[in-house]
């Protein structure tokens, strides 16, 4: 028995159990913090009645979701309608399997990975699972048999397709730099130092790719300013209009789970995962249980920081118009990421892929070119486009209405 527990498989099973449960809790507290942060930004107090500082509010919310009437409208496609929230929930949670939480742990003289699974294609796995989250939205919108829900679903699909491209290209930049798809290996390669103290995190090599990956992560998890799929003003509630009670709750929780996955993913790819410079417990050599705990805390802190930024952005920026959304992806992010990809390939060709000087100057050139292009285009970013015909003057209408209307 002890042998089984201390084997990699046993550790993976235990870790999977812990991660799923902790995440379910974390996701509901995400909603609490979302409400708190929105309140602070808007000069309000936020939930503060249930428990001290409203800390029991997520539990109250959960109970509410559980005991509410679960309405399944008559006109829906029932199997798909029930399957959709399950699909989005499941997909949002299995992404965590490949996240390296805390390096390696020494158990009974053996080293085990604090990671549920360490597949060779961990990066592709997370990418694939993340893109599948659109299935829940599409199925929900389709099964609801409701025009607005379907609109939401179609928007989600188009958005996901467009933003998967820059996201994939950003990840390719990392893959070219690191030469591996294993997430644990990517973390390990970032634990070195430049000049003795600057950690070799990828953010210091390709900050532009990091920023774009963050933007696409916002789009992929349907967060403001990219939440066109559930634009209340236009689509009632988007793909989850017809859902109530726990099914709605699952859509809601899946969004936050998706945010956490995306944050963990970015933290591993660009911020060195569990690595923190200057702390000996968070170095790859440390394999004691307290070192593992420290590493988990470090990674969680990075995730929480990203979550905060996502919430901060949500309560600052208004939603894009759909053409702006598409223009940003196809005319903005994709050319930039293509240039970054070429840069990374060139660095690899000249064997300079880990040289911050070359990578950073390449990033800077691409950023400057992009900004100059953006600021010199005469295209209006908002309102009516100049290349459309002008609106005809209303003189004819007025004459008809006022005077020369036949009696």
């Amino acid at each position: 028995m002890r042998d089984f527990i201390t084997s990699q498989f046993g550790v993976s099973v235990v870790l999977a159990f812990i991660v799923i449960n902790v995440l379910l809790g974390a996701v509901s507290y995400c909603i609490y913090f979302e409400r708190k942060i929105s309140a602070w930004i808007q000069d309000r107090c936020g939930p503060n009645r249930v428990g001290p500082w409203g800390l029991l509010q997520p539990i109250a919310d959960g109970i509410k979701f559980l005991v509410k009437e679960d309405v399944v409208p008559n006109h829906v496609d029932k199997p798909l309608f029930i399957f959709a929230p399950a699909a989005i929930f499941l997909v949002a949670f299995i992404g965590f399997a490949a996240i390296p939480w805390g390096g390696q742990l020494e158990l009974d003289g053996r080293l085990v990975n604090i990671q549920v699974a360490n597949p060779d294609i961990g990066l592709l796995y997370i990418l694939g699972v993340g893109s599948m989250s659109v299935y829940g939205a599409v199925l929900g919108g389709w099964a609801s048999n409701n025009k607005y829900s379907l609109y939401g679903a179609i928007r989600a699909t188009a958005q996901m397709l467009s933003y998967d491209i820059p996201m994939g290209l950003c990840i390719l930049v990392v893959v070219l730099t690191m030469g591996t798809l294993r997430l644990e290996e990517i973390t390990l390669q970032q634990t070195g130092y430049w000049a003795g103290w600057i950690p070799q995190w990828n953010i210091f090599l390709h900050p532009l790719a990091f920023a774009i990956l963050f933007i696409t992560a916002l789009a992929e998890s349907n967060r403001t300013p990219f939440d066109l799929a559930e634009a209340e003003q236009e689509l009632v509630g988007g793909f989850h209009t017809e859902y109530s009670a726990l099914k709605f709750g699952m859509f809601f929780l899946a969004e936050y789970a998706h945010m956490i996955t995306a944050s963990a993913f970015i933290a591993v790819l660009f911020l060195g995962g569990w690595h923190l410079p200057g702390v000996s417990w968070t170095q790859p050599q440390a394999t004691q249980w307290y070192a593992v705990l420290a590493k988990i805390v470090v990674l969680s802190t990075k995730i929480i920081f990203f979550l905060f930024v996502m919430m901060w952005i949500r309560w600052t920026l208004p939603r894009f118009r759909f053409d702006q959304l598409m223009r940003l992806a196809w005319k903005g992010l994709i050319p930039i990421t293509l240039a970054l990809f070429v840069l990374a390939a060139a660095l690899l060709f000249f064997d300079r892929q880990r040289s911050p000087l070359w990578a950073l100057s390449g990033n800077l050139v691409i950023l400057v070119v992009a900004l100059i292009t953006a600021s010199s285009s005469r295209l209006r970013v908002t309102g009516r486009q100049v290349n459309l015909p002008t609106i005809a003057p209303a003189t004819d209408f007025v004459r008809l209405g006022r005077v020369e209307m036949p009696l």
């Binding site: 309140a39 602070w40 000069d43 107090c45 901060w312 600052t316 920026l317 900004l371 007025v398």
Partner: protein, 205 residues
């Protein structure tokens, strides 16, 4: 017919270079929200935690639940003239007049009901009343279990006066100068008899 000269065509102003870049504008916005977040994280100075804290109301101006004032002898001050129910835009005041048992006035209200659910709290009744008998109080937390319970009758309206008289004393009916309906201790500077006829009805304290 609108002439071409009268039409003003407005073009959107051109965006500046930094606006077309998006990023400086976004950074500005993020700074603003972060400032608010930081400020409220430390201390929220705007929100009133209602049941524990209460707002400071302007007692003389606030338009809450009505009351029927008592004169100094404790009688209902209303003379059942129907001015308030006539002025009421929501038709929520129902009065039944009866002959007054007191020698100093002709009528008094045998019934005086206000439907607090129908009322729009505009204060027209208070303005219309010639003897300042009906007034709106700063009481706003009126609740009831039934619709019928929200129709306040004369006794309940007088009880509201008893509750609120301390924080908002009755105004003096100096405009009409009804003897015996108002308080003798008139606080206004002009004696009642000196108010010129033109100012009667227009002046208020």
């Amino acid at each position: 017919m609108i002439s071409e000269a009268d039409i003003i065509r407005i073009d959107q102003p051109e965006l500046t270079a930094s606006e077309r870049m998006y990023l400086p504008q976004i950074v500005d916005g993020m700074k603003t929200t972060l400032r608010h977040l930081g400020k409220n994280l430390l201390k929220n100075t705007f929100t009133v935690q209602y049941p524990e804290q209460k707002r400071d109301l302007r007692l003389q101006n606030y338009r809450g639940v009505h009351r029927l004032n008592r004169d100094e002898q404790g009688r209902v001050a209303c003379v059942a003239c129907y001015m308030c129910s006539t002025a009421c835009p929501a038709h929520c005041i129902h009065i039944e007049a009866a002959e007054s048992p007191w020698p100093d006035r002709e009528k008094y209200p045998a019934k005086f009901d206000i439907d607090e659910l129908r009322c729009i709290y505009c204060g027209m009744c208070e303005e219309a009343c010639p003897v300042d008998a009906i007034e709106l109080t700063p009481q706003f937390d009126l609740v009831g279990r039934t619709r019928e319970g929200m129709i306040l009758d004369k006794e309940e309206l007088l009880a509201v006066f008893d509750q609120t008289a301390a924080m908002k004393p009755r105004k003096n009916p100096h405009v009409t100068g009804y003897a015996g309906t108002g308080s003798r201790s008139c606080s206004c500077e002009i004696p009642i008899s000196h108010v010129p006829p033109s100012a009667a009805g227009a002046s208020a304290p």
